[in-house]
Amino acid sequence: MSSVATTPAAGEVVGMSPRKRRIIKALDIAGLIATIVTFLGAIFWAFPLYWALVTTLKVENDIVQPGIALWPQRFTLDAYTHVLFNTKIGTWYINSLVTAGSVTVCVVLMSALAGYAISQLKFPGRRILWWVILASFMIPIPALIVNHFVLISQFKLFNSWLGVILPQLVYGPVTVIIYKQFFDSVPKELREAAKIDNANEFQMFFRLYLPMNWGITTALAIITFIGAWNQFLWPFLAVTDEKMMNVTVGITQVTDAFGVKYARDLGSAILAGLPVAIVYLIFQRKVTEAIMLSAGIKG
């Protein structure tokens, strides 16, 4: 009598009960549905961006034609050349770079120092200070706009970089909390070893605690920079002089000066967002890390 050896078909799981097979099949279907839904969501989200980009490459006459043209009939870069050469977008970029860069450096440095002090130093009022920082986290920023407006007005800082930068420095409590949590997690023996190694507080901060995890600082700096670059409301209120405008505020002038020109408006919006998109693409992982860190705090 001869026996015939059978081999399982590809993908078939040997020795699996029918019930288990049914469950796996169900999971596969669920995965497929999730993929389709996510894909549709991505299209839904990305379509306006695509539409804006395509519109900037169209001739203005084609844009206002009825119907939906998903692809330009005639390609042109007129919108970009116009925005680049006939507006102050270069100055606006510099203003944005200076203000967003300054906000980033100041927020990160102050938050790191505050987080370090609250986490590692013992001083009277430490707990109260911590509660104040936590409490400031609960106040919505728009609620402070009037106060900021009055203060900046009294200090005569309208239409200046400082006037744009200073009120944005209060956006740091999340950063302080993240730093404090990180510094709390550093083993206390490192601090003790540093004490025996003659390190003072500044040496401990700048040579040990801060460099110990540049990843956190990089992530927080990137997300702070993106936030500061994208700020609109405060720079819009604090600056009326076109030469001092940030790029986010400046692009509104393109519309005012030249009437409604969809390609130019969208072109300036795309140019305004381009640096942030580039920063995001370069530091994608760090940005995601930073969002996860702050999401962890915000719950």
Partner: protein
């Protein structure tokens, strides 16, 4: 190199006293080991010497200088931590240089010291690596290197071997002994491992319950324990303890009776023993032999064959268990009836307050 003097040092955390009036002198160049169970206060005492814990009472002197008011960096000590506490983002070289850079030592001198320490500890090929790229033993050596470059008056080691596996621990123990012989610097070493204490120490401080139980050389501690705690804590397997009655003295030495009425002649002067109260006989397993001519009978419960010797856990008539030794090739089996002979000359007696009485001499 300097001596360390502690005078009536006390410490409490909140309402809990963790060190009570501790006084001792660690001689210059001595290797002193603080030995005791977890929570006895030995690490706290070390940290108080280092300046990482403030003291609530007493004085600490290093050399001729009172240091208990000084910050850790000004006490002239170097410390090696249990988890090494290496700076994770710095290379081995930077870890060793950090302390010297902070006191603004010239670069050439730093480089010279680091190179010398790296050579001594065979770290030259690892000098540019970061701690995360090193094994446990290598990290340990870097931590020692970081201490050595400071050329301290005293080294403080807080359970530095406890994170190593058994084999590496034994090797590193020998390296510590060699290091001390080479450097001849005062070293204070905290451990709960009696083998580390016995093999490394010039003297051991046995601590229990916030207090010093005994200070002495390893052999002093082993052969003449000051209390029942020390007798039980030092030695592996642990000392046997049996309730006894003193029945008479012979030439001034106590003769005691076990619960099964067998008698043991000790070398302990009766003049020192309390007149009343319960006594406990303490005798190490190597002084209790399995012997067909022995006077004490029992039944073997457990047999441990260690190769060069065999340990027999023998249950006596009163149900107490005695650990006895037999030769390595012993044919003893579980359940066998055995006879034991006690070497009463090396036995100890403990009174109701656990104070020890040992043989004279």
């Amino acid at each position: 190199m300097a001596d360390i003097r502690l005078v009536n040092v006390s410490k409490q955390f909140g309402t809990v006293r963790v060190i009570e009036n501790v006084s001792m002198t660690i001689e210059s160049g001595e290797f002193m080991v603080f030995l005791g169970p977890s929570g006895c206060g030995k690490s706290t005492l070390l940290r108080m010497i280092a300046g990482l814990e403030d003291i609530d009472g007493g004085e600490i002197h290093i050399g001729n200088r009172r240091v208990d008011e000084l910050p850790p960096s000004e006490r002239g000590v170097a410390m090696v931590f249990q988890n090494y506490a290496l700076y994770p983002h710095m290379s081995v070289r930077d870890n060793m240089s950090f302390g010297l850079q902070n006191i603004r030592m010239p670069r050439e001198e730093i480089a010279k010291r680091v190179a010398a320490a790296a050579k001594t500890l065979e770290l030259e090929h690892l000098i540019d690596r970061k701690p995360g790229q090193l094994s446990g033993g290598q990290r340990q050596r870097v931590a020692i290197g970081r201490a050595i470059v400071r050329d301290p008056k005293a080294f403080l080691f807080d359970e530095p071997l406890s994170n190593l596996d058994a084999g590496l621990r034994a090797r590193t123990r020998i390296e510590f002994a060699q290091l001390h012989q080479r450097m001849k610097t005062t070293m204070v070493f905290v451990t709960h491992d009696q083998i580390e204490a016995m093999t490394l120490a010039d003297r051991i401080v046995v601590m229990n319950n916030r207090k010093i139980e005994q200070i002495g050389t390893p052999m002093d501690i082993y052969t003449r324990p000051a209390s029942r705690f020390v007798a039980a804590f030092v030695g592996s397997p642990a000392m046997n303890f049996l309730p006894v009655q003193q029945i008479s003295d012979r030439d001034g030495m106590a003769l005691v009776k076990l619960p099964d009425n067998s008698e043991i002649q000790t070398n302990i002067a009766t003049a020192h023993l309390p007149n009343d109260g319960q006594l406990t006989l303490g005798i190490r397993p190597e002084s209790v032999r399995v012997d067909s001519d022995g006077t004490v009978s029992g039944k073997s419960d457990v047999i441990e064959r260690l190769g060069e010797r065999t340990l027999a856990y023998v249950r006596l008539a009163d149900n107490s268990v005695v650990i006895a030794e037999d030769e390595g090739m012993s044919r003893l089996n579980v359940g066998d009836q055995v006879k034991l002979s006690f070497d009463g000359g090396s036995a100890h007696l403990f009174d109701a307050r656990d104070v020890a009485y040992s043989a004279a001499g």
